[in-house]
């Protein structure tokens, strides 16, 4: 590079200064001309009311950009508020009302009507009602259901009760555990419930006499036991609740449990509402099921515990089924003998 180059360019300097001064003058001229209305007319029509409406509606348009990696968010997520209001104003109170309401109803029913006793004495002849496979499935599903219901209720209402009660340290661990149990046992519950439902499908096909059963309130109206096959209409109702609402709860639970399949917030919001409404409802009905199966009816618990029920119980509660299988009744003593070395009082037949 020769040293003369900068000097040769020097003559351009005054020209540059002149140009700058001229343009500055022009700019001042433009500023002097600044007219609010003209500026408004040429200003970028950026965000008007329609644009905000479009944003709030969730539309993004083809030229929407978000600098966050892998983002599926709109600028404003107006559906969040809808979800919040649904959850806080309707779903949460609904849950308390159905679950607590059911407990109260059951308590009152037990105090007023009391336990349903068998009309006739036990015969000592036993009928096989639930195979080992069904009982194992039932108790596994039942245990999981109770765990999921308790953890679910804790997720919904725990903050009002346990944080003031236990203090932050314990409560933090409790909530972490709650979420882990709920999220990890949920899918297992789903799989096992589907298997159980399939196993029991044949017993739960609705029949004509089920209508009569409902008309008589399952025997509450009048003194007669209404007709019932292997499963009475009440049991069938519980079955079909699980087969519909139960499956909906499981499906919506899976949507929230596995957020890695690209589902967006709106999907998860609705999944949450369906999950909560279905689960609170099922929890309430499950309380009724638990009551009827344990305290409420003499001889019912024995069936799911040992697999066998007394012929009297079968005759009174499931007359149509009793007519079919009464020839297969086994004397109690025989069951006790065939029982393998176990010391418990419940025989454990191995037939699947």
């Amino acid at each position: 590079m020769s040293k003369s180059t900068p000097w040769r360019a020097l003559w351009q300097l005054p020209l540059l200064v002149l140009a700058l001064v001229a343009s500055l003058g022009l700019a001042q001229f433009a500023l002097a001309q600044a007219d609010p209305d003209r500026e408004a007319a040429t200003a970028v029509p950026a965000l008007d009311a329609d644009a905000w409406r479009q944003i709030k509606s969730g539309e993004t348009g083809p030229n929407y950009r978000d600098s966050r990696f892998d983002s599926n968010y709109n600028l404003i997520n107006a559906s969040g508020e809808t979800w919040r209001q649904l959850r806080e104003r309707w779903v949460s109170p609904f849950g308390v009302i159905v679950v607590v309401g059911m407990i109260v109803v059951i308590a009152v029913f037990y105090l007023v009507v009391g336990r349903k006793k068998l009309d006739e004495p036990l015969t000592g002849r036993k009928l096989l009602r639930w195979s080992l496979v069904v009982r194992s499935l039932h108790w596994t599903v039942a245990t999981l259901f109770i765990l999921l219901a308790l953890t679910g209720l804790n997720l919904a209402y725990g903050k009002a009760v346990f944080r003031p009660l236990f203090g932050d340290g314990f409560w933090a661990a409790m909530m972490s555990g709650t979420k882990l149990i709920h999220n990890y046992l949920g899918p297992l519950f789903g799989v096992l419930l589907v298997i159980l439902l399939l196993r029991l499908l044949a017993h739960n096909i609705p029949r004509k006499h089920d209508l009569a059963w409902f008309a008589k309130g399952g025997g509450l109206v009048g003194k007669e036991h209404p007709d019932a096959g292997f499963a009475n209409a009440g049991e069938k109702l519980w079955y079909w609740l699980l087969a519909t609402a139960g499956i909906a709860v499981i499906a919506s639970g899976l949507v929230m449990d596995f957020p890695n399949y690209g589902q967006v917030r709106d999907t998860m919001q609705w999944a949450n509402i369906i999950h909560a409404v279905g689960a609170f409802g099922l929890t309430a009905v499950a309380l009724g099921h638990i009551y009827i199966g344990t305290l409420g009816t003499e001889g019912s618990f024995e069936g799911m515990a040992s697999g066998y029920v007394d012929a009297t119980w079968a005759k009174e509660h499931h007359n149509l089924w009793y007519e079919e299988v009464k020839d297969q009744a086994v004397p109690e003593e025989q069951l006790a003998e065939s029982r393998p070395t176990s010391e418990g009082d419940a025989p454990a037949p191995r037939s699947g």
């Binding site: 408004a40 200003a43 950026a46 030229n63 600098s67 983002s71 709109n74 508020e81 903050k159 929230m256």
Partner: protein
């Protein structure tokens, strides 16, 4: 007491993403988490406009209302903070938030959420020591008398942070300076009715 607010002047935002970078740098947030984002509407069209979004520290914050563990809470100065010791990663705050502020690190199988992270207005969060606070929540610039770094570093001063009253004053002043009826949001057909600032200029 002051109420702390962010405000992004979309007329000034040039989509440089400096706020995003400043936030990342100030708070050293986890990989995959980006507390602040810049949204551009109508990109490439004449009406293109950009706006920087993070947690807006709502008065009636939906995230606080729906959180099952009371992880989220609001300070007296309006800043919404989160307690990572309580978070269980249920994602409810994410469902409820209008601005997509809560984010979850996804390091586990099946997208299981880790502990929620969101903008703290550079005010840290509950922790025993300063080191723990920085590690969990990032900087606590508010405690040092400084404003959030995103706003401090904004090259066009589009992003403002601070006491809501002062932010509003600055913005109102800008609208007045811009001198036209819809200096807040240009193209607003209701400019005549909406623009108090314009009236102010007319009345001297």
């Amino acid at each position: 007491m002051a109420t702390m607010k962010f405000m992004c002047d979309a007329e000034r935002c040039i989509e440089c993403n400096g706020c995003v970078t400043a936030c990342k740098n100030a708070n050293e947030v986890e990989w995959g988490v980006q507390r602040r984002r810049v949204v551009t509407l109508n990109d490439g069209e004449p009406s293109e406009v950009s706006i920087s979004v993070a947690c807006m520290h709502c008065d009636d914050a939906p995230c606080i209302a729906v959180c099952p563990t009371e992880t989220l809470f609001q300070r007296d100065d309006g800043i919404v903070l989160h307690d990572k010791d309580l978070c269980i990663g249920c994602g409810y705050c994410l469902y409820a938030c209008p601005f997509g502020a809560p984010q979850f690190p996804k390091q586990n199988a099946f997208g299981e959420r880790g502990k929620m992270d969101k903008c703290t207005f550079c005010a840290g969060g509950p922790a025993e020591t300063k080191e723990e606070e920085y590690q969990k929540y990032g900087a606590n610039r508010i405690a040092e008398g400084k404003l959030p770094l995103c706003a401090e570093m904004c090259s066009t001063k589009a992003l403002l942070a601070g006491d809501a009253q002062e932010v509003a004053d600055i913005f109102r002043q800008r609208v007045v300076q811009r001198g036209h009826k819809d200096g807040g949001w240009s193209g607003n057909p209701r400019a005549d009715a909406d623009s108090l600032a314009y009236d102010a200029t007319q009345q001297g």
